[in-house]
C-alpha cells in the first residue's frame, strides 16, 4: 500500500510551495493581495532552528496576534478545535451546559459569540453552528490558528467584537499525499482523520479531509443520574481546490458536509414519548437532549492580478452555508434551518512600499426558519410556541488604508458603511497602529466598533437545559453594538538559549452600546431576555505573557490573564458579570530531545473563580451542604501531559488530561425527587450553570502517519 502511494507521489510533478496563504503585508488582512506572495507565517516564527514553537506572539502583525502552530496543535489530543485552546490563556474554553457537550470559548472575558471565527478569512460558525461549531472542526485538519485580539481589519465585516480567530487548514499544496490519524481516549471517544493533498499538473491541486469521531458509551461518574458527556457520532468531509493559472489568476473553491448527532442527559431519553407529567415510576421516562446538526458549505474565491506584478488586484469571495438543527431537550423541541450567504468583492492597490489601500463591497444574508415548542412547569405545565422565518442581513462598502514606514511603523485605518436590515445605516471605523522604536520593543494599539445580530436562543443554547420559562425578547435579533480598545507592548531580549525570549503585556476594554442580556437573576425560575438599552456593560482584560528557552530545545511559556467584567442590571445596579472567571494562569513546558525524536509536553493551568447566579446561592449537594456559600466558584487547577515519539513519517503519542481529576461534581441543580436525583420536570431544574470540568482524568493515545511527497 505504502509503495502504491509512493509511486503516486513520485508520479506527480514536483513544484514547491507556490504559496498557500493569502494575507497582506501587515500579515493581517484579507484574501486578495497575498494570493501572490508567500504565506504570512513563512518568515514569522524565526524558523532558525529545527523545532517549531507551539504557540507564540506574532512579531510582524499589526494587531496583537497569538499563533498556535501545527506543533502547538500536536501538544494535546486536540480532537477538535475546542481542545486546541486548552494551552492558551487568551482563550478560555468551557461547556455551555452539562448535557449537550456544546463548548464555548471566551475571549477578553466575553462569550465566544463576540469573537468572529474565520475559515481562511471566510466567516464561519455563525447562527445554528455557533453552539457546536468548535466541535465541528477536527483539530487534525488544522495547520495553525491565529488569535487576533481587539478590533482588526474591516474587510471581513465587523462581527468581531473581542477579536478574530482565523483557522488555517491543511493546504492543497502541502506535499503530503497522505496523512492519517487515529486516537482513542479512556472515555471511549475515538477519532479518525484522513487528509490527502494532491497536486495535479502545474495548475491544479486539491486537499481532501475526512473525519469520523464518536464514543461507544458514556458514563455517570458523579452518580447524579445524568451522563457526564453525551453519546455522540460525527461525520465530516471536506474537499478544497486551488487553481493557479499561468497568468497569475488564482481560484480556490471547496465543499464541506457534516453530520453531528449527540444524545445527553439521562440514559434512555426518547423525545417522541417524553412527557412533562411525572411518570408513575420514578426514572421510567428519563429527561435528556437529542440533537442532530447537519451542515453543507460551498465557497469560491477568485483573485485576479491587474497589470504586471502583483501591486493591483481584485478578488471575489462567495460562501454559502446550509444548516439544519433538530434539537430536543425534555419536552422542548427547537427545530431550525439556516441559509447563509456571504459575498465580498475587493480591489487592492499597493501603490508603493509605504502606501496601500483596499476597497470593496460586502454583504451577508441569513435566513432563519425556526420552530420552537417548549413546555415547562411554572405552576402547571405552560407551553411556549414560536415559529416562522426571519431574514437578517447587511450590505455595504468598506475601505482600508495602510501606511508603512519600513518595519518601524505601520498604521491602518478602516471604515465600513453598512445598511442593516434590523438597524438601518451604521458606520464602523477601526484603527490599528504598530510601532517599534527599537528592534527589541513593539507597541500596538487598536480600537473600533463591532456589530452583530443576536440569535438569543442559539447563542445561549444552555437555556434549554433548564426547567425555566423564557420571558422578554428571546425571539428578537437585537443588533448588538460594542467598541473595543486596547494595546500591547512586547519586549524581546536575549536570554537563555534563544534570541526569541519575550515579555508581553496587553490591556483591552470592550464596552457595549447595545447588548442582548440573558438574565437568570431577574425572577425566580425564569430566564429574561432584554436589551441593555443604555445601561453599562463592559469587560477589562489584562494579560502578561512570557516565553523563554532556558536551554536548547526546552521552552517555557507563562501566561496570566485577569478579567474584570461588569454589567448594570435593572434594579440591581452594577454587578460582576455572572459565571465569568476572573483570572487564568497557564504554564507550558516543552522539552524535545535532539532531532525532536522525543517530545514531552506539560501544561498546567489555574482557573479563577466566578460569581455564581443568585439562584445558585441556595444550591445544596446531596447531603444538604451549601455549594456556593460565599457566592463564588472555587479556584481550580488543571494539568495536561503528553509524550510524543517521532519516527520517519510516524508519530506515536500518549497523554493525559485533567490529571488532578478536578470535577464540578454538582452540576445538575434543582429540587431533588424521592429517588435522590434532581427532578428535571420542575422549574428549578438547571443543568446550565457550568464553570468547571465535567470529566475527570482522561488518558489517550494516538498515532499520526504522514507520507511525504518525494521525487
Amino acid at each position: 500500500m505504502r509503495r502504491i502511494f509512493l509511486l503516486l507521489a513520485a508520479a506527480l510533478p514536483t513544484y514547491v510551495c507556490v504559496d498557500a496563504q493569502v494575507t497582506g503585508p501587515d500579515g493581517q488582512v484579507l484574501d486578495t493581495t497575498g494570493i501572490y506572495r508567500d504565506r504570512s507565517d513563512s518568515l514569522e516564527a524565526a524558523v532558525s532552528v529545527s523545532r517549531q514553537q507551539g504557540s507564540y506572539l506574532s512579531r510582524g502583525k499589526t494587531v496583537r496576534t497569538e499563533v498556535i502552530s501545527s506543533a502547538g496543535l500536536r501538544k494535546m489530543a486536540c480532537c477538535s478545535l475546542a481542545e486546541s485552546f486548552e494551552n492558551s490563556a487568551s482563550v478560555t474554553v468551557g461547556y455551555s451546559d452539562a448535557v449537550t457537550g456544546a463548548r464555548q470559548i471566551r475571549l477578553l472575558g466575553l462569550s465566544g459569540i463576540y469573537t468572529q471565527m474565520l475559515d481562511e478569512n471566510r466567516p464561519v460558525m455563525r447562527g445554528f453552528s455557533s453552539p457546536f461549531g468548535l466541535s465541528y472542526v477536527p483539530g487534525q485538519w488544522l495547520e495553525s490558528i491565529q488569535i487576533a485580539k481587539g478590533a482588526s481589519s474591516v474587510v471581513n465585516g465587523v462581527e468581531s467584537v473581542t477579536g478574530q480567530i482565523n483557522l488555517e487548514f491543511r493546504k492543497p499544496l502541502d506535499e503530503k499525499p497522505l496523512f492519517l490519524n487515529a486516537s482513542v481516549m479512556s472515555d471511549t471517544r475515538m477519532d479518525f482523520n484522513i487528509a490527502s493533498s494532491l497536486q495535479m499538473g502545474r495548475n491544479w491541486s486539491t486537499v481532501i479531509l475526512g473525519h469520523i469521531s464518536g464514543n461507544i458509551r458514556s458514563s455517570d461518574h458523579n452518580r447524579d443520574g445524568f451522563m457526564d458527556a453525551p453519546e455522540m457520532l460525527q461525520f465530516n468531509l471536506a474537499n478544497r481546490w486551488l487553481y493557479y493559472a499561468d497568468n497569475g489568476v488564482q481560484m480556490r473553491f471547496g465543499v464541506r458536509a457534516l453530520q453531528d448527532m449527540r444524545r445527553g442527559g439521562q440514559e434512555g431519553y426518547d423525545y417522541r414519548t417524553y412527557s412533562i407529567d411525572e411518570p408513575d415510576v420514578p426514572g421510567s421516562d428519563p429527561w435528556g437532549s437529542d440533537i442532530t446538526g447537519r451542515l453543507l458549505n460551498g465557497y469560491v474565491k477568485v483573485g485576479i492580478p491587474l497589470g504586471t506584478g502583483d501591486s493591483q488586484n481584485i478578488a471575489f469571495v462567495a460562501d454559502y452555508t446550509f444548516q439544519d438543527m433538530d434539537s430536543h431537550f425534555g419536552s422542548t423541541s427547537y427545530l431550525g434551518q439556516q441559509h447563509s450567504l456571504f459575498a465580498n468583492l475587493m480591489y487592492q492597490n499597493e501603490i508603493n512600499d509605504r502606501h496601500r489601500f483596499v476597497a470593496g463591497l460586502n454583504g451577508v444574508f441569513d435566513r432563519y426558519d425556526e420552530d420552537l415548542s417548549r413546555t415547562v412547569r411554572v405552576i402547571g405545565p405552560v407551553t411556549l410556541e414560536k415559529n416562522g422565518v426571519t431574514g437578517l442581513g447587511y450590505a455595504g462598502a468598506f475601505g482600508e488604508y495602510t501606511f508603512r514606514a519600513g518595519d518601524k511603523f505601520t498604521a491602518m485605518a478602516g471604515l465600513r458603511g453598512d445598511w442593516y436590515s434590523n438597524g438601518g445605516f451604521r458606520l464602523s471605523p477601526r484603527a490599528m497602529l504598530k510601532y517599534s522604536p527599537v528592534e527589541e520593543i513593539t507597541v500596538r494599539v487598536n480600537g473600533g466598533r463591532g456589530l452583530r445580530y443576536a440569535v438569543p436562543l442559539v447563542d445561549n443554547i444552555g437555556v434549554f437545559s433548564t426547567g425555566k420559562m423564557f420571558y422578554g425578547n428571546y425571539d428578537e435579533h437585537t443588533l448588538e453594538d460594542a467598541w473595543t480598545f486596547g494595546g500591547n507592548i512586547t519586549y524581546y531580549f536575549h536570554f537563555g538559549a534563544s534570541p526569541g525570549t519575550y515579555l508581553s503585556f496587553d490591556y483591552f476594554r470592550t464596552m457595549f452600546a447595545q447588548q442582548m442580556v440573558v438574565d437568570y437573576e431577574m425572577g425566580g425560575n425564569a430566564i429574561w431576555f432584554y436589551n441593555l438599552d443604555g445601561n453599562r456593560s463592559w469587560s477589562d482584560n489584562y494579560q502578561l505573557d512570557f516565553s523563554v528557552d532556558p536551554v536548547e530545545r526546552f521552552n517555557v511559556t507563562v501566561t496570566c490573564r485577569y478579567t474584570d467584567a461588569k454589567i448594570e442590571l435593572p434594579g440591581r445596579g452594577l454587578v460582576e458579570k455572572p459565571m465569568t472567571s476572573n483570572f487564568k494562569g497557564v504554564l507550558n513546558l516543552q522539552y524535545a530531545t535532539r532531532l525532536s525524536k522525543w517530545i514531552f509536553d506539560f501544561t498546567a493551568s489555574l482557573n479563577g473563580s466566578c460569581r455564581v447566579y443568585d439562584f445558585m446561592l441556595d444550591a445544596v449537594d446531596a447531603d444538604g451542604n451549601l455549594l456556593y456559600g460565599n457566592g463564588r466558584t472555587p479556584v481550580y487547577p488543571l494539568l495536561y501531559a503528553q509524550v510524543t515519539r517521532r519516527f520517519r513519517g510516524v508519530e506515536v503519542y500518549a497523554g493525559g488530561e485533567n490529571l488532578t481529576n478536578f470535577r464540578q461534581k454538582n452540576v445538575i441543580l434543582g429540587t431533588r425527587g424521592s429517588d435522590g436525583f434532581v427532578n428535571p420536570r420542575v422549574a428549578s431544574f438547571d443543568a446550565s450553570a457550568v464553570w468547571g470540568p465535567l470529566m475527570g482524568v482522561k488518558v489517550y493515545a494516538g498515532v499520526r502517519f504522514t507520507l511525504w511527497k518525494k521525487i
Partner: protein, 116 residues
C-alpha cells in the same frame, strides 16, 4: 505489565534511559541493544551546511521530518530566512554526498555552502 512496558520502551529506543531489568527476556533485549552500541567506533562528528531552495514552513517541516531520520544524522538546524540546512553527522555512517542526495530527493535544489 513491567515486562510489556520495558519491551515497548526498548522498541521505541528511549535514549539514555537505564531500564530496570527484572525479567530474563527483558534483560536479553536490553543487552542486545547495549552490545550494538559497544561495537560502534568512538563517535566523531562532522558538520555540513547546505543552501537549499526552500520557501515556506511546509518545506521546513518536510526537511526536518525526513532528514532527522537519515542514518548517521546527529543534529539538524533549518533556517528558513537564510535558506540553509545545517547537519551534524557521524562520518562513519554517512557523508555529505548522501545527505545532499537525501535533501534533493525531497524535491529541492541543494548546494554546499560555507556562508552562515
Amino acid at each position: 505489565m513491567v515486562r510489556i512496558l520495558i519491551s515497548v520502551l526498548a522498541f521505541l529506543s528511549l535514549p539514555a534511559m537505564a531500564l530496570p531489568v527484572s525479567g530474563a527476556s527483558a534483560a536479553g533485549r536490553v543487552s542486545v541493544g547495549a552490545a550494538v552500541v559497544a561495537e560502534k567506533p568512538a563517535g566523531k562528528s562532522a558538520e555540513v551546511l547546505f543552501s537549499v531552495s526552500m520557501h515556506c514552513r511546509n518545506c521546513v517541516e518536510k526537511i526536518t521530518g525526513n532528514i532527522s531520520f537519515e542514518k548517521g544524522v546527529k543534529d539538524l538546524k533549518v533556517s528558513l530566512d537564510k535558506h540553509t540546512v545545517w547537519i551534524k553527522y557521524d562520518p562513519s555512517r554517512t557523508d555529505e554526498a548522501r545527505l545532499k542526495a537525501a535533501i534533493e530527493k525531497l524535491g529541492y535544489d541543494v548546494r554546499k555552502t560555507e556562508d552562515e
